[in-house]
């Protein structure tokens, strides 16, 4: 079971700013272990952020996103207490969904 995300969503003016940290190795598939074997690629491929069920960001990621990924963006609207839900899916099909209330 992957570790939970840290999500911060705050109202800034007439927008909501969302900042997320995810716990993931983001292994490139380019590295070798001590025995010289290639460490297989293992990385988040899709991220969806929804505000009250409506998607506000869709992302596709490759192996170049840094380990323990960080993402920030803003969307118009959003009020204190609204639910923000984030889901990621990696190339092994592993999935994690976390939610927070806009603060």
């Amino acid at each position: 079971m992957p570790d939970p995300m840290k999500i911060r969503a705050t109202v800034v003016g007439d927008s909501t700013e969302v900042r997320v940290l995810m716990s993931h190795e983001m292994e490139t598939g380019q590295r070798k272990d001590a025995q010289g074997n290639v460490i297989p690629a293992w990385f988040i491929q899709n991220v969806v952020v929804a505000h009250k069920g409506r998607p506000v960001l869709n992302a596709q990621w490759g192996t170049a996103i840094a380990k323990n990924p960080f993402l920030s963006f803003k969307f118009k609207g959003g009020a204190k207490g609204d639910k923000i839900e984030i889901t990621w899916v990696d190339n092994r099909g592993e999935k994690r969904t976390d939610e927070t209330a806009i603060g």
Binding site: S15, M26, T28, Q30, Q45, N46, V48, A50, R54, P55, V56, L57, N58, A59, Q60, W61, G62, T63, A64, I65, A66, K67, P69, F70, L71, S72, F73, K74, F75, K76, G77, T87, V89
Partner: protein, 157 residues
């Protein structure tokens, strides 16, 4: 080099690009159920190949795409902060490409209406390279680039 790249940027066909973007889900922002991942674009080995597969069709250099909170020099290539803001009306998507990475395409962000065309993330860079911000807006393609130097840090071992 710079000229060659521009040519490639212009050479890609708009029609092929459109088809690929539909496949990639670019043109269906907000459709969370239709999760997809543009395998051929992400697995392309060169910038030209990535752009060809994935379009960038008749993309024009644009001053309306700005790198924010993006340093000229990275103290470590494992984590390089990248911020991209587009002030081009009807921006629908932003992609990050790193020319000298083994797979240049790093990320595609679909921007549904109501979401500001400004994203921040962190990428890995294998070495000093040009980084491209490719923006799709109102069906057209725009690009901006910036060189980021990757330094060797610390005690070196």
């Amino acid at each position: 080099m710079q000229n060659m790249r521009r040519k490639v940027l212009k050479a890609g066909g708009g029609v092929a690009l459109y088809a690929l973007l539909v496949a990639a889900g670019w043109l269906k922002p907000g459709d969370a159920a239709a999760q997809s991942w543009n395998k051929s674009a992400f697995e392309a080995k060169t910038l030209d190949e990535a752009l060809k597969v994935f379009g960038g069709g008749s993309s024009a250099q644009s001053k309306d795409i700005v790198f924010v909170s993006t340093p000229d020099i990275a103290e470590n290539g494992a984590v390089v902060p990248i911020g991209i803001t587009s002030s081009i009306p009807k921006t629908e998507a932003i992609a990050i490409l790193i020319e000298k990475n083994p797979n240049p395409l790093a990320a595609i962000f679909e921007i549904p209406p109501g979401t500001e065309p400004a994203i921040g993330t962190r990428v890995k860079m294998a070495q000093t390279s040009n980084v491209y911000a490719l923006v799709k807006a109102d069906g057209k393609y725009y690009v901006a680039s910036k060189e980021i130097k990757v330094t060797l840090g610390g005690c070196g071992g």
